[in-house]
Amino acid sequence: MKFTVSWLKDFLDTDASAEEIADKLTMIGLELESLSNPAEALSPFVIAKVLEARQHPNADRLRVCMVDPGTGETVQVVCGAPNARTGMIGVFAPVGSFVPGTGIELKAGNLRGEASNGMLVSERELLLSDDHEGIIDLPADAPVGTSYAAWAGLDDPVIDVAVTPNRPDALGVYGVARDLAAAGLGTLKPLADAPVEGTFKSPIGVSLAFDGDDSPCPLFVGRYIRGVTNGPSPAWMQKRLRAIGLRPISALVDVTNYMTHAYGRPLHVFDAAKVKGNISARLARPGETIEALDGRTYTLDETMTVIADEAAPEAIAGVMGGEASGVTAETTEVFLESAWFDPVRTAATGRKLNLNSDARYRFERGVDPAFAEPGAEIATRIILDMCGGEASEILLAGKPPIREKTIGLRLSRVESLAGVRIDPQRQVDILEALGFAVAGAGDDVVVSVPSWRPDVSGEADLVEEIVRIHGLEKIEHVILPRLEAVTTPKLSVRQRRRFRAARALASRGFNEAVTWSFLPSDQAALFGGGETRLKLDNPISTELSDMRPSLLAGLVAAAGRNADRGAESQAISEVGQVYLGDGPEEERLHASGIRQGMTGSRSSLAAPRAVDVFDAKADALAVLEALGAPVDKVQVMADGPSWYHPGRVGTIGLGPKNRLATFGEVHPRVLEALDVAGPLVAFEIDIDAIPVPKAQRAARGALNTSDYQPVRRDFAFVVEEDVAAEKIVRAARGAEKNLISQIGVFDVFRGASIGEGRKSIAIEVTMTPDDRTLTEAEIEAVSSRIVAAVEKATGGSLRR
């Protein structure tokens, strides 16, 4: 919402400076977007007299002008404008000034042998208009040597404020003035809305044609004005419209724009000569079309309101007028419309047609229904002043949809809700200054809401009005009382695990990333997703269309981009939600990571090796342990999701149905689809699957140490190729649970000596007795049980 300070002062009697006004606007909720003074850019330009303009000796189209800029010295300027002449008063730009219309800083020059020390400028060169026919030609009495901007009234700061959607009343300068007056920045001037006496009956009639439900347009105020002349609007109006970024068109068009911005009251003016028969407000017929004032043709439907004559729609109600009945320079008879259109319907219409306008912006937020008629009177008066003619009697169809709203307010509520004590009389004064009526005495009063404040409907709204005008800065800061002497833990197990996972991975060398929650359809499908119910109905792009079923897609794709940028090795992780369905419980918290390349950079001390599945397995186990999963009880199964290499994938779980994590090499086909060079290993941990330990005691169990020597024995078993090492370890451990404290796998061997399709797996078993030193015989017995158990479980045999 833009306006100039002089425009504001039409409605507000104030001595406040532009800066004071701007600051106050922000502090009462009309946030300042910008404060600028066009005169600042024009400050170098002064009114000057052309003492002599003579023909340039070497150029037909140039003149050499001797200019008096009021400094007492005469300056020679070479000028190409056809209207440059001796004795004229123009606008002079001295050397060194920046000309906004050309973007050039003036330098002293020489044009075909004649010195030129400055410039006589056109309106276009000052960005005042498109006029570049000649240089600015001022009246003879314009004061030479003074600032052109000040003389021309351009020294008028422009204020732009952001208006929140609840404040349609502040979408007009008058409403802004009312707020400022309430805030003590001046006095609001009364509206000049005295009715204009109609001298004849309008030849065009108006009606609401809605078959009973007038809610789309409950009020239509019309007026016929005849004998008008539609020339340019006066300079003061053009200046204002230009200052807020509007292009003056003609008096009749400009008046509607002026009313929209001055009072937040959009109006429409039809060329009455082009209207066929009477005018009605009605719903559009499906498929009806209208060419709007923007030159485009719109196809309407039965949800949209139109203003129509007896032949066709002439305006899209509340949005834009039609080209067919638009006013032109030749227009002499006009029909003025000042109606009220339903905000929701107007918004929906504008959205469907993808058509924005200043009128729609106001109607969809809710214009003041009580102001339709006063607005028509004000507009009539301006039209008569600017264009001449005479006005008909006012035509009225329907009645203003005024909401009679009263709210009970406890004046003590301001203190209990806003935390500031404000004198009751001051509270009442504020409300009344904003147009509310306050009845009753004591703490409980009844407040009537003015017609221009559709947003105010409850006590809290009134508290807001009072404190925003009183000043939020007057509310003292108070620290919330502590509810406990020492802060108790505030995070759930799941929340703690999120951060522990991230930090466990960072400590293992992972760079934590945050990637999109959505991904392309084909990638979702590769990672087990792509279900319809997890597709966005309105994705921002096809790259971000499906909710991710796995964190890996984003990480693998990122790895590809990093590799393209020259990363040779990388480890990136993410902790975040994946979406297995659209219910809250189907959002699972995952911690995942990928590794690609080598374990480190090249070194004189140790050759790095390529990362492999066991790096991913170690990562998964380390994170599980960091998150408190019972890693001593997990088992590793040689299977996993389809996006891994089928022979290089494992699942870590507490049983076949209780899966905590997967790890492996990403499937080459997946890598190819994502255009990422492999191999690349990955793991995924389902944090939500990890059991939450029962209330833990802080105390640890007692430390039990054995005074007796642990005994280590090595065994090698020859088994079929498809026997998993885990099976051997489990069988061995099961053979003597109490005595065996640890089992390591230290060798896997394949060779001709063992036979095709077989392998030898060597394990080291540590036995830790706690009450005696083991005898050879006891060790022998345990060994035999281990061998027997493994042979039985695997069908293999001890390697001799």
């Binding site: 929140t164 609840n166 905000p343 203190e415 809700l417 806003a418 935390g419 500031v420 947003d455 409850g458 809290a460 508290v463 807001e464 404190v467 939020l472 800065e473 509310i475 003292e476 108070v478 620290i479 919330l480 802060t487 505030k490 759930s492 951060f499 991230a502 930090r503 400590s507 060398g509 992972f510 760079n511 934590e512 990333a513 945050v514 999109w516 929650s517 959505f518 119910r533 997890l534 597709k535 109905d537 309105n538 921002i540 971000l544 909710m547 984003g554 990480l555 990122a558 981009r561 990093n562 940028r565 480890a571 990136i572 939600q577 219910g583 480190g600 950079s601 070194s603 001390l605 140790a606």
Partner: protein, 360 residues
């Protein structure tokens, strides 16, 4: 030959031999030759028995003294040799310590995670618990319960991501803010309520400072007495703690949100010094959060009585807080997983934010 002269000669020979011994082996030979079973001194000691008591009285002490001196000489020489050997070993073991050590990879924590934990640390100290809610929400929690009517502009597709329609025509939404957690918390807990709810949010928007996914943090306090003064005090305390400044210029501006009434936006003072943003003082203002007293409709939607309960709510962007505090220029880069960015702007795993230890 005089026996004593003989012993002197023997001692001289043996001592000489010990001194000449260049290594452990030679020294051991010298020991065997003198004190070994058949060594020169041992042989002589054996001869004592055949001597007369008078001879023995003279020869005994002389021989035993010799034995002791030789033993000591052996020990001394052994020490010297050991020292020499160690010196030689150390000399041979010299390495070039200027070589770089075995490479290790250094991991990092994403700035959003870091700031997420910083914010938790501060609010936890003020008694706020951490609450969560789903990213995929229904219309009621994301809009209706928050007093956002069906025709509100923010419901339009320009801002809100919808999932594919269900059979009944309804569409789930990707939450556009963390505010649905307000409702879920009020439904689940009895006042007094003090929570923050950090997490992902989604809006269909994309430029330098907007991404279709970002992180917000919601705050909610509900009890019977909390008012706007508490809201201002809480936000000031948070901002000072978070930006780690003692003085902070703040500005509270009236504003509008459907779910709060009265509503206010909060700006903090700042200035640009040599291309760097300085938070706290200065002539410029930075908008950092929206807040207000929870709207009575919202309290009722949460299943509580707005005649009895009141409180405040606020929301701010986590990623934006990270950008401001740590001088990170472009929001889009947060979600691109560019290693160079992650390493430059990331934090060490050991940088665990804590009110007691310091946040950054």
């Amino acid at each position: 030959m005089d026996q004593m002269t003989d012993l002197h000669a023997l001692e001289r020979d043996i001592t000489e031999r010990i001194h000449q011994a260049g290594d452990e082996a030679a020294l051991e030979e010298a020991r065997i030759a003198s004190l070994g079973k058949k060594g020169a001194i041992s042989e002589r000691l054996k001869g004592l028995g055949k001597m007369s008591p008078e001879e023995r009285q003279v020869a005994g002490p002389a021989l035993n003294g010799l034995k002791a001196r030789i033993a000591e000489a052996l020990e001394t020489r052994r020490g010297e040799l050991k020292e020499k050997a160690l010196e030689a070993r150390l000399k041979s073991e010299t390495i070039d310590v200027t070589l770089p050590p075995r490479p290790e990879t250094k991991g990092t924590i994403h700035p959003t995670t870091q700031v997420w934990q910083e914010v938790i640390a501060i609010f936890a100290d003020m008694g706020f618990s951490v609450a969560e809610g789903p990213h995929i929400e229904n219309d009621w929690y994301n809009f209706g319960a928050l007093n956002i009517p069906p025709e509100h502009p923010s419901r339009q597709e320009m801002d809100t991501f919808y999932l594919a329609p269900k059979e009944d025509g309804s569409r789930m939404v990707l939450r556009t803010h963390t505010s649905p957690v307000q409702i879920r918390t009020m439904e689940a807990e009895e006042p007094p309520i003090r929570i923050i709810a950090p997490g992902r949010t989604f809006r269909s928007d994309s430029d330098r400072t907007h991404t279709p996914m970002f992180h917000q943090i919601e705050g909610l306090v509900i009890d019977e007495t909390t008012h706007m003064g508490h809201l201002k005090g809480t936000l000031e305390a948070f901002c000072k703690a978070f930006f780690e400044v003692e003085e902070l210029k703040m500005r509270f501006r009236p504003s509008h949100f459907p779910f709060t009434e009265p509503s206010m936006e909060v700006d903090i003072g700042c200035q640009w010094v040599g291309g760097e943003l300085k938070i706290g003082e200065g002539e410029d203002w930075l908008e950092i959060l929206g807040s207000g007293m929870v709207h009575p409709h919202v309290i009722r939607a949460g299943g509580l009585d707005p005649e009895k309960y009141q409180g405040f709510a606020f929301g701010m962007g986590l990623d934006r807080l990270a950008m401001l505090k740590y001088g990170i220029p472009d929001l889009r880069a947060f979600f691109e997983a560019d290693l160079r960015w992650l390493r430059h702007y990331g934090f060490s795993a050991l940088d665990m934010p804590s009110v007691a230890e310091g946040l950054s």
